[in-house]
Subunit: 343 residues, 4 copies
């Protein structure tokens, strides 16, 4: 039994962490902080948690987070980098769900986030928490950078192609569609019901902050230089990401479906569909599964990978729990064994 804390518990990722942690057999959720809601019962803000937790939000300044074994940061970017170092120095383990420790290149981070990084030394110490790639390092980490939602599903989709050197790395395309919860809980015009609903559009087509994270991850899988066009879209659903990935095969003949199936055969949270099936986001809603399928339309040179996940689960809180389970040697599926809710 470990003691865990959450910094920034009023966002969608925070609620999800509480949903999982409150039923986790090995964890006591001891602290949830919120600057804006301090003193209020968590279930007053989130009625879905009535009867589930008796915690109240506490002040992040004055709370003894260092009494926790593990602290999750579910904060906006540029927050964890200020608060995590003290905890790390005190021996607390940290899983950061924000982008603060995902890029190894300080300059790249500073370019995309428009500010100085507060603790660049930690960038190289952080372990990138994609279990399907880094399971061993995760188990030894003190600081885990939990992957972004788009980067998770896009890396898992391209991974077998790159590991097997099957495709041209210079012309990858990721056409990705995210449910609105991916934009977070902060108020914005674009995420109002009347403007996000019954509509669909791309955004940041000229460059999204997740691009360097995805390229960094893909580059680690291949000696080839990665060139990736990544176009995100806002999907009028609450949860779910669908990535449609395109790559040019270097040569015909490989049984790509078999390669995918084999690569993920022992992964508890990656599921390759039978040939010809298309994954849908609803089939993973609320669960930690990333579901994939592969096509080679008209037998041509382009391979199409379809990949879905729940952006708040495998794309955020669920993957963080998976990382925690690996880190502490718990069963990797402990507290994560939720069946997707359908319909």
């Amino acid at each position: 039994m470990i003691r865990a804390g959450i910094v920034g518990g009023t966002g969608y990722t925070g609620v999800e962490l509480m949903r999982f942690l409150s039923r986790h057999p090995e964890v006591e959720l001891a602290v949830v902080t919120s600057r804006t809601e301090q003193g209020k019962p968590v279930s007053g803000i989130f009625p879905s948690l009535r009867g589930v937790t008796d915690l109240a939000f506490s002040n992040p300044e004055t709370t003894a987070l260092s009494s926790c074994d593990l602290v999750f940061f579910a904060t906006p970017s540029a927050t964890a980098m200020h608060q995590a170092p003290n905890l790390l120095d005190a021996g607390v383990k940290v899983i950061d769900l924000s982008a603060d420790f995902r890029l190894r290149d300080k300059d790249e981070w500073e370019r995309w986030y428009g500010q100085k990084h507060a603790c660049p030394d930690y960038l190289s110490k952080a372990v990138y928490g994609l279990p399907e790639v880094n399971r061993a390092q995760i188990s030894q980490a003190q600081l885990i950078a939990n992957p972004g939602c788009y980067p998770t599903v896009i890396q898992l989709g391209f991974l077998p192609l790159l590991e097997h050197d099957l495709v041209e790395t210079g012309s990858l395309i990721a056409d990705a569609k995210s449910g609105v919860s991916g934009a977070g809980r902060a108020l914005s015009q674009a995420t109002q019901f009347c403007e996000a609903g019954e509509s669909f559009s791309a955004y940041s087509a000229d460059g999204h902050r997740h691009l360097p994270e995805i390229k960094q991850g893909l580059s680690a899988l291949t000696p080839g230089r990665i060139d990736l066009v990544f176009v995100p879209h806002l999907l009028p659903i609450i949860r779910g990401i669908h990535a449609t990935l395109y790559a040019r095969l270097k040569q015909p003949g490989a049984d790509i479906h078999a390669i995918f199936t084999s690569r993920y055969a022992h992964e508890p949270y990656v599921d390759v569909l039978p040939r010809g099936a298309h994954p849908d986001t609803a089939s993973v809603s609320g669960s930690n599964v990333c579901r994939l399928s592969v096509f080679q339309p008209q037998g041509g040179a382009t391979v199409v990978v379809l990949a879905v996940e729940d952006n708040l689960v495998k794309g955020a809180a669920g993957q963080a729990i998976q990382n925690m389970n690996i880190l502490y040697g718990f069963d990797e599926t402990a507290g994560l064994d939720h069946v997707a809710i359908w319909p």
Copy 2:
């Protein structure tokens, strides 16, 4: 550990039963039948259950359902009444999620369902499975008639008012709104995305099949004659029912909120909100909770009860599991301890 079977596993209620039973610590799900999909793996029809169950749908005619301890009927109306008697005679327990055994009055049943009842003798033997009213009888039952979705939330909302003789029973109003899954999985024009979505309407305002069930249940709570106007509406959400109930107080002065709170203090699945709060359907999505609040607008003579549930859980499959737990003496919350998924 008991062996359970499901008859009619291809509807929304069937999927929900499988979601709960597949993770229930005391149950082995042994059989799921479907006339139309027999032979196919369950997870081929419902990808959300990939990795959760290896069952295939079996033929309801030839399957040895009598090898089960307990069989759930998740069938359309007028099916269980034909198949349940044989199982009951063989000593199998039955929880019927359809309407076949909910009404005690055969004539009433035949009037609303437009046909002869196939086994009217069982109408008086069946126990109406609303745990908050009938817990003791449920624990002794062989045949449980699981309540309808509207009847559950409406009875739980009116119950404390009637038990305490607080309101005129001759002018009750239930304005109820149900998500589309309440209409079932059979194809219909009204439940097509383009016709149910971005719209809202009442239906069956002149009389809905759940009316006699609700009146029967309310009548059992009071010596007064129940007169109820029940207007159901189709809500463009997948899951959730919201009932807005109106009743005229017999006299002023009672602390209605306190009466509700006290009545449900020990119920695991009824939650009364603090004064002034309004329940929302999303706060119970995927969970077995019925959440209530009460208002007395402008201090007038009308009391307003707001009540929500997930129609597929507390209004169907979850309540069936709760009934099973009571029936077998399991912890009443065993396998039902799911936190609502929000957002």
Copy 3:
């Protein structure tokens, strides 16, 4: 041809006014003001208006609104009461879509809006713009208080019952459900896609600002004292209001459907459905129609009226255009002849 202006053009009501006015045969839309967006082209904020209008938002302080014949206020409450008097003194006609001039009782207004009214003398001069009741006065008005969205549909639904003295006026119930656009375009947590979507709840069950407006309107139709319970709900659709109205008949026997049909036979924008039909909000989407039906469930003493409108059209901008047409003696349907968009 008249010159019209809009004050506060960046809300949903403002866009709708522009949609109608830009195609109106008798109106030149000359000015649209916005404090926050001044200088920007209207179609830069609202791409749906690209190619429709070349106007840019202008500064409300410095714009010569008095050069207009008619000014619409599409502002939040407590704005028009400050700016309209100068225009009225300059001979400009004003249609106010906010609540500033809807209540005749200054004290009532101040109680519900929590501040002093800036120009109480105008409260008695304003004409309440419900054409089905006040057509003659509207045609002579200088200042029109355009009704609220809930008040329009609820008054039109109760009107024939009260005019014919058919029901008890002391126990009226209006269970109303509004699409999210009714909450306006200002940012709020409750109207975010992830919180308003896939959910449903009541709000302000203990008293909503539209209550006094509705009671004032209904009181004018009957000598009886109006007692009304009004419970609004937030519906996960963009446009549309559905009101379900309940009243107790004084005596049996009247042909209520015939009374409704007759009362509205010559109204261009009220449509009574055939017996037994239920109106749906989608059937009026984008159009100025209020659609009604009436039921008397189980032949009992309660009459149920179902009434729908597009809250942004008959409940706001469309009704304002209808009022303008009456005021200037245009054909009442000029520029309003839009067929509802379905599906």
Copy 4:
């Protein structure tokens, strides 16, 4: 004034045709047929048309369609090819909104539609009704094959790139997303509210019937051999298509935005957004506009075109009206001047 008829008036395309034709200044809508609903008033099936049309559906067998000047076929595929020839022989003009006359290659048609074509001679006589390409031929046609919804938006998006020989034609990608109304009004499990809503998936990734139509259209614009990967997705909105198009530039340097702007400067229904803006489907809802923007992410070799339309308007009924206007020499925007409804 011409007399027009509609064959197959009970689908979504049929309702849209009626919405436009009922307000068209040059058309009398004389006949609407439906095999299943014959004899019933149109407004009984579609309440949105109450007060708009007094027509009843008539029997397609016995109706004197040949008394019309123009007949629209809004039927499923493989219907018009049986009925249109008689009308054409009688001198009636025909606009077919189905796929029966879109492909010039009989064998290709038969391969994709799995049956013999009933009147292959007409394939070469039919004019493909994409006004931005074929305006002159449309004005002289007797039989117009109205383009499919996907083909319209995808061709308009690629067109300037191909006409100016800017891109490799052998590696085009069209990642397209369609609202559910694109699937038509026939019942199907995939388009039920509970299965299409709150979800997103690709379909027909290995080959969709619109593929040969798109390739045929693109091939006419360039001497290069077209290779296209087309992946359609089902979007949980009622109306709207968004196509995200990818192509490799042959060489850097062209001002692509300027080329798009110039190409469509005089087109009434194609709108190119300013640099950096992203089109959204809601901005064209109910209107005949196709809205485009272009990006060149990170200044690389891939050009991305974003293109939206209302699939029932520019993708079906609106384009049919535009073709009719051209055919009869009416103002091309007559009866089509509808402003998009937003929000």
